[in-house]
Symmetry: C2
Subunit: 272 residues, 2 copies
């Protein structure tokens, strides 16, 4: 008779779940599937609700909890409530305090941007296309030199990528347009271009992407809508939509995607 200890963290819980998922009978399997896809609901729901969601009887859900090593549902729920609490120590409260400084005060504005950034990150987490990301990383990791271009609001993203590549000793060139010199002829066969552009799209950036595609170079695009002109070029498109505050848009999600891309490329290169 095995007596497995209950998972002590949400991560352990997830791990255990995939371990046993295959060995489960029908109804308990339904529980596992439902829980895996609705982890966030556990903290706030009742057994009855979760059981209904999974399409099983409450008693089946109880057996499921016990099989995972918990004393019962309440025991399992405690794990999720605790982790929930830790995540949000008193963020909501603090934000309210900032907001209460008054509509147009700097603190209130900051609160808006913080919230917008948080929402953007969330949205990124739920909309990112893993396959496209993998493909982009693979292409970039194989490139002799990486060319980066982004103007206006995308320029900070380009410079950040440039900084990250430099730090990891990855050959890269920032096409910054200084002195209108242009550097497009530095793009050699096999090189890959990262083009970053958001509506209203900067023509120079589009031009560089078109140029690269015509010469047979791969292009990774970091852009916003699905109607972006960059998408039509047969590129690796990575989509980010930022939440805006008034007419301003923060860059939290875009930069997180960019740095993850850069580090992933660095890691892939290392392992060669």
């Amino acid at each position: 008779m095995k007596k497995p200890a209950a998972p002590a963290s949400v991560d352990e819980f997830q791990e255990r779940l995939v371990q046993i998922a295959d060995t489960l009978p029908k109804r308990l399997r339904q529980c596992a599937d439902f829980v895996a896809h609705n982890t966030d609901k556990i903290a706030l729901s009742t057994v009855a609700e979760l059981a209904a969601g999974a399409g099983v009887q409450p008693s089946a859900f109880m057996r499921f909890c016990q099989l995972l090593g918990f004393a019962g549902f309440s025991d399992m729920q405690r794990l999720f409530r605790d982790s929930y609490g830790q995540r949000w120590p008193d963020y909501a409260t603090r934000l309210d305090n900032l907001r209460s400084e008054g509509g147009q005060s700097p603190a209130a504005l900051l609160a808006e941007f913080i919230e917008a950034g948080r929402l953007s990150l969330e949205r990124l987490a739920s909309t990112v296309d893993s396959e496209a990301l993998d493909a982009a990383v693979a292409a970039l990791a194989a490139a002799p030199t990486i060319h980066v271009m982004g103007m206006r609001r995308a320029f900070p993203v380009a410079t950040y990528l440039s900084y990250a590549f430099e730090k990891m000793d990855i050959p890269s060139i920032l096409h910054d347009g200084v002195g209108k010199l242009g550097r497009r002829h530095a793009i050699r066969p096999g090189d890959v271009v990262i083009a970053i552009s958001f509506a209203p799209y900067t023509q120079e950036t589009i031009d560089l992407a078109v140029y690269a595609r015509e010469r047979g170079n791969e292009v990774v695009a970091i852009t916003d809508t699905v109607t972006s002109p960059l998408r039509r070029l047969g590129v690796h498109a990575l989509n980010v939509s930022e939440v805006d505050v008034g007419s301003f848009r923060a860059l939290s999600a875009t930069l997180s995607l960019a740095i993850a891309l850069a580090v992933a490329v660095g890691a892939t290169r290392q392992s060669r």
Copy 2:
């Protein structure tokens, strides 16, 4: 006999709270104070727990709920549970899915950076110094010209600020060090410098800040630790500490602070 409708959103709830706070008797006042400072706990706690936290009897807490227009505690809690659910539709789940792609996969890396960004934003919300921010905005709003400087990892922040100022027709100069030309003599009396630097601090940025202070110009510093060399110069110091992933640090919090600063300056100038 008044019969106020229950607040329909967390915002309305907060509003109602400050409205009636002064008119409440002692015990109910304790409830209001506790709730105001622990809004985040409501969704997951029991009346008994909250009452204990506020230092009152459960029955007192019940009366408090009813006074706000709710049928009872459960009714009030529903409001918070709902808003909680909306905020985190399935963020946690999605993040877990990304992570499950495997330790070094691009998606897993992205998840790390998203989480780091979120934590950084949270931390920013709870550590920002409203007074310092106000003072910085006031100084910048009065400046004939704003000078911006940041190198390496701070460079994206500097370029972003530069972009924002340009968009709002605010005179600004980006000291980007192109061609080692230097532009320090462009700093005229009354001008204000924004110096952005993180450990290890770039000497050129420090130098510019020192130079400006010696000439009597005000300086706004965006920096990390309290031991930053920028702080010793008698500047308006804005503190940001980013959570790092491995040896990389995202810029979510820093950029949110920067854009809020810029927009606040723009708004202040407008209202003159």
